[in-house]
């Protein structure tokens, strides 16, 4: 049957989305203006440093939206989304590495520096093609997508849900972290990929490129938000919620729960990948640290703080927590972990609906645990 795109147009017609996009674009415009129009000295000038910082926050926001899609609406608490984020990042990183060409310290046009001094003879097969932007950008979607597809297929088919799923997603990202730390993997081991020169021909050192990346990230966030919103406002979104709250019941209505979960999971993974891809050129490095379980679980708390199953809540959460992190690590380093830890506890115990819950009266759908209802 013809795939109508109505589901994508739908969110554009609802006020909440319009409001979100409005605020987002207004903020981006303001930053751009303050950065470009005002002179260095001026009190209101936004430095390139700040622009990049905000760009990073926006990447995290997109990542948070992706997590909220599966956790909030599908009830799948993924503690491994950092893995998809990182895979997207590595795909981009590999492209940027190839762009360095013979400007590396060894001037080897083929091999990245870390391969040269660990005397690799030629480029491993899985590095082929990453010199082409289109291929790399495709991989940004496919690498996380495929992992999510295979993993999800196995997991959902055999009805691994609730805490079991959370735990094995954590194991997944942990295993990947160990794997990427290995230098034989050919991804630069602990040092990861870094010292990027330029992207699509634009030097990563020019403020213009930075601004461009910031804007690109903002747009990606907007698109990602609309896609997610489109899904959750479609009938599929309602089915997802049905799966979340009463998986078995949904099956008896004739829905292939595993397929639904798989579809949404893969979409979410791809969004995470995109976030990672935009993150890397802005922070200038990708290394296995991004796979660490701690990071993945931190993402979840952004969402929890912002408010599950609202999408915009995820964005708020991501921005707030990361801004707090920037401030805290500056002001009182030791306090940061206390603050973060406290946040986990307080939010889950006293603020189950997060900030969004405070904002809106007719709040997000009550969240009940899938694992309980798994086969009610």
């Amino acid at each position: 049957m013809p795939v109508s795109s109505q589901w994508l147009k739908r969110p554009l017609l609802e006020r909440s989305t319009q409001l979100f996009l409005g605020v987002l674009f207004a903020a981006m415009a303001l930053v751009t203006l303050l950065h470009v129009a005002l002179p260095q000295g001026s009190a209101l000038h936004v430095s390139a440093y700040t622009v990049t910082l905000l760009g990073k926050y926006l990447c995290y926001a997109l990542l948070a939206v992706a997590v909220d899609l599966v956790w909030g609406y599908l009830g799948i608490l993924s503690l491994g989304h950092g893995a998809f984020f990182a895979l997207g990042g590595y795909a981009m990183g590999m492209y940027l590495m190839r762009q360095i060409g013979d400007r590396g310290v060894y001037g080897n046009p083929e091999l990245p520096d870390f391969m040269v001094f660990l005397n690799w003879q030629e480029l491993p097969w899985y590095w082929q093609g990453f010199d082409m932007a289109w291929f790399a950008f495709l991989m940004v979607l496919l690498a996380p997508g495929l992992l999510a597809l295979v993993f999800g297929f196995l997991a959902f088919r055999s009805r691994v849900t609730g805490v079991y799923l959370s735990i094995i997603t954590q194991a997944l990202t942990f295993a990947l972290m160990l794997a990427f730390f290995r230098n034989e993997m050919g991804f630069g081991g602990n040092n990861g990929l870094t010292d990027f020169k330029d992207i699509l021909g634009f030097s990563l050192r020019s403020d213009a490129t930075r601004l461009g990346l910031f804007i690109a990230t903002g747009i990606a966030l907007a698109i990602g938000y609309v896609i997610c919103r489109g899904i959750v406002t479609s009938k599929l979104g309602r089915v997802s919620i049905a799966c979340r709250d009463a998986e078995a019941r949904t099956r008896f209505l004739g829905y292939r729960v595993d397929r639904v979960q798989l579809f949404v999971f893969v979409v979410s993974a791809m969004l995470a990948g995109v976030a990672g891809a935009l993150y890397v050129p802005q922070v200038g490095i990708i290394n296995p640290g991004e796979f660490s379980p701690l990071f993945s679980i931190e993402i979840v708390v952004w969402v929890a703080l912002g408010g599950r199953a609202t999408l915009y809540g995820a964005v708020i959460g991501a921005l707030l927590v990361n801004y707090a992190k920037t401030v805290f690590t500056g002001v009182m380093p030791d306090a940061w972990l206390f603050a973060l830890g406290g946040l986990f506890v307080l939010v889950t115990v006293f603020l189950p609906k997060g900030i969004a819950g405070l904002l809106q009266r007719r709040s997000a759908p009550p969240v009940s645990s899938p694992s309980q209802e798994a086969a009610a």
Partner: protein, 433 residues
Amino acid sequence: MKFSKHLKLGLSALALSVSLHSVAAEDPIKVGILHSLSGTMAISESALKDTMLMLIEQQNAAGGVLGRQLEAVVVDPASDWPLFAEKARELLAKEKVDVIFGNWTSVSRKSVLPVVEELNGLLFYPVQYEGEESSENVFYTGAAPNQQAIPAVDYLKNDLGVERWVLAGTDYVYPRTTNKILETYLKDQGVADADIMINYTPFGHSNWQAIVAEIKKFGSAGKKTAVVSTINGDANVPFYRELGNQGLAASDIPVVAFSVGEQELAGIDTAPLVGHLAAWNYFMSVDNDANYDFIDAWVKFKGDDKAVTNDPMEAHYIGFNMYIEAVKKAGTTEVDAVKDAIIGVTVPNLTGGFAAMMPNHHITKPVLIGEIQDNGQFSVVWETSSTVAGDAWSDFLPGSRDLISDWRAPLKCGNFNVVTGKCGGGTAEVASK
């Protein structure tokens, strides 16, 4: 005051950037300190932060430099590699610091490198590392492989008559590179493949039984065997414990470590380590008045009688003094002037000798081999007759054999390829393929 500055910093991050910096002549010289104060690396790095604060305090007490006081700007990259780049940018772009002392791990340096080069800053890097780098904006006051690994191996070969080698390391780039270099070096010396065993373990590896058993087996082939350990931090305690328990005494199979210093020993039961070796360019136990004075000052500064000093701290001591000298010489803190002035600057180190800044931005260091003692100190058993100049590009790696670094005019190149005569590496090894 400090708080409000940081608060401002934080606010500025919230899109409303407020940058109120107009550097006047009499402003203090700003020294950025980029060491993790939280997270996994805080253990090692926070001590370096304090070292810098102490040195700055002393310098100011001595009237500063060029009649200007020094002001420390401390940030916390929280052991998070991308955050290092971000904080470095903050220091250079926002705080407008004149120089940065910082970083411990290679990956953090790699992540900072592009930022420092882009914003033309100065970075002093105090930790022994794998080499293979020479940036115009970075000064490497820690040991390059030829200032630590290779002399250590020479000592084992010549003085202990070691013929069989175990290269054990944590699986990251420093051990990988060091072992690659040592492997080539040993083979050049006519060591057979069969007499070299290489083993890598993950970070914080705690279950050493199988590997130690392997080493034991490898060591019972009738030739004197030694372990060259590039095992990192936490993994060491269980490693040495297992050695002890499986009855491998230092007299049978000595272990020479490149990452175990006084700081690490402070945290462990030294009993199983006694007699094993470590190679550094400085030991707290070095019998020398400059060193004793430094230790006294440090103990006083920390207000802790048990406070220990270690090699990277000496590196900062040297680096800081070199910077001061260079500023005096240049008569300004202007980066390019200092960069030119500092090459050739010579300052005393803490082991009774002198350290000179080489054109490749590495320094000259003596190499010391110490034996671990039950009090967590090292007793020096061997040292190089003269100081060794750091070699940015190892002669034992095919990729870098032909590279040299010289930041003086006219060459001004960090990776000049002597074969192709091109700066920027050239493509010698590609041609050779």
